[in-house]
């Protein structure tokens, strides 16, 4: 592999890993803090992508806005969605066994998929990136790199930085970190744990929906995109350690690298490679690389 190609592949790996991080960070927070296994997380990503497609005409009609206006509307809707879902379906799961959480959220996947099918249909759709981001910059003599992909990476980095600041510098962040380590302690400190959960859940949903929305122009929108993302996010969380946002970032980037170079170097085993890596890491560290607490 030439050095230039190698660098471009690294860029690809970085972009894929960062997007993965955005989806997985919400998942790991919900796991770590609320102790709820949320199989429906992939569905939120799918819902986000479909929102980017289906909301755009309405947003354009009502507000005259484009992609970013849709993004904003979608973000508001997703927070509301997360808030309502937590209240309706998740709030009584905390005391239940994991198994029941698995089932409930499995049922939710089916419901979300079918509702999507009823409301938007089963067709594949493309979503247009905003014009000023639609260009490409030349890389080497043949290749160009789409500006929008760089934009995604930049947004992900910005969000990761924002999450880091919120988690380490704010009172809410302290409560969240404490909640991931010791739920009873947080409760004994007089924090409204119910509220904390609702906020975390809404934030987790919003992250996944947002990831789906900004990914839509490059990923296109299709049924089944949710479960694909879900499984790989599980691997991210398993490798990174439950509840650790830092771990999720590290693991997502690692998976980006293994997946990107695996496809080129070992095309026949590309699907398996990520899982083999996971097995090796578990052998070495059963709790993941950065276990919270």
């Amino acid at each position: 592999m030439e050095f230039g190609t190698f660098l471009v592949q690294c860029l690809n790996a970085l972009q894929y890993g960062l997007l993965l991080f955005l989806v997985a960070s919400g998942l790991t927070l919900i796991f770590g803090i609320m102790g709820v296994i949320n199989l429906a997380h992939g569905s939120f990503y799918m819902i986000g992508a479909y929102m980017a497609y289906a909301l755009a005409p309405f947003v354009a009609k009502w507000t005259g806005g484009g992609f970013f206006a849709t993004l904003a509307v979608g973000l508001v809707l997703s927070v509301a969605l997360g808030y309502v879902l937590e209240w309706a379906f998740y709030s009584f799961l905390y005391e239940r066994e994991h198994l029941q959480q698995v089932l409930m959220t499995y049922g939710l996947i089916l419901v979300f998929e079918e509702l999507r099918s009823i409301l938007v249909g089963n067709d594949v759709h493309g979503v247009k990136a905003p014009d000023w981001l639609a260009g490409s910059i030349p890389l080497g003599d043949l290749m160009t790199y789409p500006v929008y992909r760089l934009f995604i990476s930049a947004v992900c980095v910005a969000l990761a930085a924002a999450m880091y600041l919120v988690l380490t510098r704010t009172r809410l962040g302290m409560m969240i970190r404490a909640g991931a380590t010791n739920r009873e302690m947080v409760q004994s400190l007089g924090v409204d744990i119910q509220f904390l959960y609702r906020v975390v859940f809404a934030a987790g949903v919003a992250l996944a929906v947002f990831a789906g929305m900004i990914a839509a122009p490059v990923s296109s929108v299709y049924p089944g995109m949710g479960s694909q993302v879900l499984i790989i996010c599980f691997v991210v969380v398993v490798i990174g350690g439950i509840g650790s946002v830092r771990g999720a970032l590290f693991a997502a980037l690692l998976i980006g690298l293994v997946d990107t170079f695996g496809k080129v170097v070992f095309p026949h085993a590309a699907g398996v490679l990520v899982y083999v890596m996971m097995a090796l890491i578990l052998l070495w560290k059963p709790d993941g690389l950065f276990k919270a607490g």
Binding site: V102, G107, I231, A269, G271, L282
Partner: protein, 335 residues
């Protein structure tokens, strides 16, 4: 408990008798359907051993099932029948080995982590059959010739006949059920129950719980592989989707639907799930909505978790509680 008193034995005998007589009155489709359900009941029993009896929520049971099924097909040469008496042990051994490998890793983890890791390892097996030359592709593989079951030149069972397959599946179900029922009363079974109730205490008493759990996990994988063998022989066709996580999810729904902690709950669950699916897919009842039958299934699962956490087997108790207006006692104890 399951086996106190004769009533349950009589009931079980009646059910087995009814199943044994069923082919006399049923059409081809009925025989086929029940054969399939019984195979899934064996599979559900394997999962019940883990989830209901040992407290290990495995979200990757389909992998062992699929490996068993694939092993049968891949080990059979294209145009030559192979004896089931070495094919089945071979296939079960493959599933068992993978379960041993996965178990030794995943049992180092706990709780939510365990669920996700079992899922991830099942996906790994899925991709091996899906993408690598070993699995011969996404379209699946045929078993051109079903295995033979000959002893000294006498054919014991003809697997080409659906009725024979039916009775093989019934025998397998009864044998698995009986084996597990006996196993659960043994010291091993009681130790698993203890681990489910309170693993910390079991370790303090001197049980190496890791070894016990690994044994249970491996055994469960072996039984799932056995179910896979039956499935491959019945359908004579395997596909990577047999290992997909949707099947693992459905299996969990089955055993919950039937009721956890009871062997017959898994069997009831397998039957109930199949019928529920037929019900929601029925155009006669739902018309065009039958297209969206997964919506009905999803809502049912959600309602079940919310209202009937103990499953169908717990229904009588739940109803009488409702009637007596007594508060529900927590099912899990200190899990």
């Amino acid at each position: 408990m399951d086996f106190r008193g004769g009533r349950n034995v009589v009931l079980a005998a009646a059910v087995v008798a009814a199943l044994a007589l069923f082919p006399l009155v049923a059409g081809k489709f009925g025989i086929d359907l029940v054969t399939k359900i019984m195979i899934f009941a064996v599979l559900a029993l394997s999962l019940e051993l883990l989830v209901g009896q040992t407290g290990l929520v495995c979200f990757g049971q389909a992998a062992f099932f699929g490996i068993g099924a694939y092993a049968v097909v891949l080990a059979t040469p294209q145009y030559q029948a192979v004896s089931i008496f070495w094919l089945a042990p071979l296939a079960v051994a493959c599933a068992t080995l993978y379960a041993l490998f996965v178990g030794s890793l995943v049992l180092r983890t706990r709780g939510v982590y365990f669920i996700m890791v079992t899922l991830a390892f099942a996906q790994m097996a899925y991709y091996v059959f899906h993408d690598t030359p070993l699995g011969r592709g996404t379209d699946g593989v045929y078993l051109y010739v079903r295995p033979s079951a000959e002893v000294f030149g006498v054919t014991l069972v003809n697997f080409e006949k659906p009725v024979s397959l039916y009775y093989v599946a019934l025998a397998a179900l009864v044998a698995t059920f009986a084996f597990l029922a006996v196993l659960l009363r043994s010291r091993f079974g009681r130790a698993l129950a203890g681990i489910k109730a309170n693993e910390q205490r079991m370790r303090a008493a001197g049980f190496s719980t890791y070894a016990y759990k690994l044994a249970a996990f491996t055994l469960s994988g072996a039984i799932a592989g056995f179910a896979g063998v039956l499935f491959a022989v019945k359908d004579a066709f395997v596909n990577p989707e047999l290992l997909a996580w949707h099947l693992s999810g459905s299996l969990l729904v089955m055993i919950i639907l039937g009721g956890l902690g009871r062997l017959w709950g898994a069997v009831i669950g397998a039957f109930a799930y199949a019928l529920l699916q037929e019900f929601f897919q029925s155009q006669a009842i739902f018309g065009d909505l039958a297209k969206h039958w997964l919506l009905g299934l999803g809502l049912t699962i959600i309602a079940m978790v919310a209202l009937l956490p103990e499953g169908l087997a717990g229904l009588p108790a739940a109803v009488s509680r409702r009637l007596a207006r007594k508060p529900a006692r927590s099912a899990g104890g200190n899990a």
